[in-house]
Subunit: 151 residues, 2 copies
């Protein structure tokens, strides 16, 4: 975290891949268990569980405890823009505050990188606001599963 790193946090990656996986393998109503998701994505189970949990709390997925429980998609899942997931895992600070983390930085007293980064930053924000989970599911499903499974 910690950078205009051109990476996403692991949390975000896990959340995104988790949601995509659930959306891919379960039809409306069906459930998938964290054990299966974690195994398929080759991701730490408990850590993934916590992240999925937050995704559920925000309403992007459903979950049920108990036997035959698990995670399932709901009405919001497919239409959720990526920015919603990013907000859950990483927060929105990154789009608001100074890229050098200088508190005084603003339009009138910009840091040396302020205007240089503004365009890139807004482009990314736009991208993530308009792209939904459904958009990511448009490509060939077999390829998609393969691309998010393992590493």
């Amino acid at each position: 975290m910690v950078c205009l790193q051109m990476f996403f946090s692991k949390s975000f990656g896990y959340a995104l891949r988790g949601v995509i996986y659930v959306a891919l393998v379960c039809e409306e109503g069906q459930r998938v268990q964290v054990d299966e998701i974690a195994a398929k994505l080759a991701v730490p189970k408990h850590f993934l569980g916590k992240i999925m949990n937050r995704v559920v709390k925000e309403g992007i997925l459903n979950s049920t405890k108990g036997p035959y429980g698990g995670f399932s998609i709901n009405e919001e899942t497919l239409s959720s823009p990526l920015i919603r997931l990013l907000r859950i895992t990483d927060g929105m600070e990154q789009f608001k505050s100074c890229v050098l983390k200088l508190r005084k930085c603003n339009k009138d007293k910009p840091c040396p990188l302020h205007y240089l980064m503004e365009i890139n930053r807004n482009d990314l924000l736009k991208n993530f606001s308009k792209t939904t989970i459904a958009d990511l599911l448009k490509q060939d499903k077999k390829m998609l599963i393969e691309s998010i499974a393992t590493f």
Copy 2:
């Protein structure tokens, strides 16, 4: 480093501000000490020292030990693109490897975000390759000093 966080690492921020400060306050040949830089930028002295050290090793600044020693600019300082500093502090991996850190991701087997991010990522890389320290020094110097000092 760990995210398409819209932030830079502290190391990069310190390096950039340090170089700008040296370039601003010392004419060709003059020297500034780490104590002064750290004080003005309100940044941990020893940590800054180490980063400046690497910047010197890469040839972007000069340094001399001993009395009247300190850091000074050289022929390369002003013409260095920002990407050179970023390579020193954060490395270039962030522009090369998958944004979700999936090793298998490539043009033929792209991860769900591959093409979505490609444009943003390349734009940023271009920006950082063409913008030099000199470019950042073009604005009003008093404003500039103020913007990098404190936080």
